[in-house]
């Protein structure tokens, strides 16, 4: 037996939750799925070392109070076997979901750029370290360096410090001028988590970027380019992320158009007939923008255009914030030359940077070197080569992530009991 949804929502972060809640009063049969154990997305993560804010708990309670919303946690999309149909899988089963309307709220991931030593144990993404700590990783008394770009560095540093890390440096690649200009604009968007944004953390260094992670079997130190000087810091962990890139692969596979690196949408958050997108898969902008976009998409998907329209001014306001953010943290072109010929670009297939030289597009590089053909399906190296060489990754082919044979054969297509 397959499952049917009037409205299927992929991703249960702020955008997906807001979309489900906006659509629920219509009585539509709503199914929301997400690959994490609990709703909340990247920003609201639970764990033994994390408690989500009241706003997130209330959203979860409201979701549960609607009997027409069904949430499948720990569930990922494997394939699109037919029109308006997705094959999905959780820990136990694989099954088919048919839908009338779809809203993609697949969020964003970190841009991880290759540099010498980045495959050493001890090196993580910046948001990656934060997520691991929330899930119980101990950093007590460990020497931590955070590097890359964007406000996520400070959020990650705050989490690490709260859990006893010995912070060595927060290295922001953007210039002091760019970051200070952004900081002075922050009062225009009050109540923002970023109000805690401070240039006065004594470990915060602008105009500073990573050159290499050093160590033999695991990370021992990091080499930084700090405002013209080269410095080396001994450390146990390096958390390095260069901002966020939208998760567009599923959208691409379903025929959504792209605008730059994000899914293209109209004023109703629609990308094509009956197919919507909201939140950071349509561009990086923070949780407030994700919430309002999700609500617009949810209202529009069930035909309540008036309610959707009323949210347009709020969306425009947070789009202004997103623009200021993206401008301030634009990446320095020097970051494109961190990798050396032997630096691995594809961590799944161990393809070095040198193997990509001479290719002019993603397809030819992929076929010749296996770059992007491994388990992550190019979700790490695809973002990197797009940044490094400007190669646009092609739409992925199913299976979109490693799946069990039984799922692929759709042998067991019964949805799990509620």
């Amino acid at each position: 037996m397959n499952e049917y949804a009037d409205l299927l929502i992929v991703g249960a972060g702020p955008a997906g939750m807001a979309a489900a809640l906006a659509a629920a009063p219509s009585g539509a049969r709503i199914v929301m799925l997400d690959d994490n154990p609990l709703a909340g997305g990247q920003i609201w993560r639970d764990g033994p070392q994390a408690s989500v804010p009241v706003q997130a708990r209330q959203l979860r309670e409201r979701l549960q109070s609607h009997r027409n919303i069904r949430h499948h946690p720990g569930t990922r999309v494997i394939a699109n076997p037919g029109p308006k149909q997705l094959l999905v899988e959780d820990d136990e089963h694989g099954w088919l979901i048919s839908y009338d309307k779809l809203i993609l709220c697949t969020g964003a991931r970190e841009l991880l750029l290759p540099f010498p030593g980045w495959t050493l144990p001890g090196v993580t993404g910046a948001g990656g370290l934060q997520a691991l700590i929330k899930a119980g990783l101990s950093v007590q008394d460990q020497r931590v360096v955070i590097a890359g770009s964007g406000p996520l560095l400070l959020a990650s540093a705050a989490t690490a410090k709260k859990h006893g890390a010995n912070m060595q440096c927060i290295a922001e690649q953007a210039s002091l001028k760019a970051v200070a200009g952004f900081a002075t604009q922050l009062p225009r968007w009050p109540n923002k988590l970023l109000q805690s944004f401070t240039l006065f953390d004594r470990h915060y260094r602008t105009g500073t970027h990573v050159l290499a992670a050093l160590g033999s079997d695991r990370l021992e130190a990091v080499r930084l380019h700090q405002q013209g000087k080269i410095v080396e810091l001994a450390c146990d962990r390096l958390a390095c992320g260069f901002g966020l890139i939208p998760n567009v692969q599923l959208g691409q596979a379903l025929g959504y158009a792209l605008e730059g690196q994000a899914l293209a949408v109209d004023a109703w958050q629609a990308s094509r007939v009956d197919h919507y997108a909201a939140g950071e898969c349509t561009g990086f902008g923070g949780s407030e923008l994700a919430l309002v976009e999700g609500a617009i998409a949810g209202h529009a998907a069930v035909g309540d255009f008036e309610a959707a329209r009323q949210l347009w001014p709020r969306r425009a306001r947070w789009q202004g914030f997103a623009k200021a953010l993206n401008r301030a943290f634009a990446l320095d072109p020097r970051l494109k030359s961190l990798a050396r010929p032997d630096t691995l670009v594809c961590r799944c297939e161990d393809v070095p940077h040198g193997a990509l030289a001479g290719h002019t597009n993603w397809r030819s590089a992929k076929l010749a070197s296996r770059c992007g053909m491994g388990a992550c399906q190019g979700r790490v190296c695809g973002g990197a080569v797009q940044h490094l060489f400007g190669w646009q990754p092609s739409a992925p082919r199913p299976p979109f992530c490693p799946a069990r044979i039984e799922t692929l054969m759709s042998l067991d297509d019964t949805p799990p009991a509620p």
């Binding site: 154990p37 033994p48 948001g127 934060q130 997520a131 119980g136 961590r347 992550c376 979700r379 490693p402």
Partner: protein, 78 residues
């Protein structure tokens, strides 16, 4: 508090701990061996990079998106 086996060693962890975090609490945090033979550890922490693939009760799963459960058997070596 669930107790699980990590490469044959027992470890008790707080409720809600991910397998990725447990591997670091109970050992060196590594999850797999790369195709060229180097040990690797979780990178993205959020289900994207697949560096944290481990064998959990006989199935390949992502350590960063799997919560520890009592009696779980986790293996990080092929």
């Amino acid at each position: 508090m669930p107790e699980l086996m990590l490469d044959g060693h027992a470890l008790r962890v707080a409720e809600g701990t991910s397998v990725a975090a447990a591997l670091a609490l109970g050992g060196d945090g590594c999850t797999r061996t790369s195709v060229s033979g180097r040990r690797r550890a979780p990178l993205c922490g959020m289900g994207i990079c697949q560096e944290c693939r481990v064998t959990i009760d006989g199935r390949r799963r992502l350590a960063c998106q799997t919560l520890c459960r009592d009696g779980m058997q986790v293996e990080t070596r092929p």
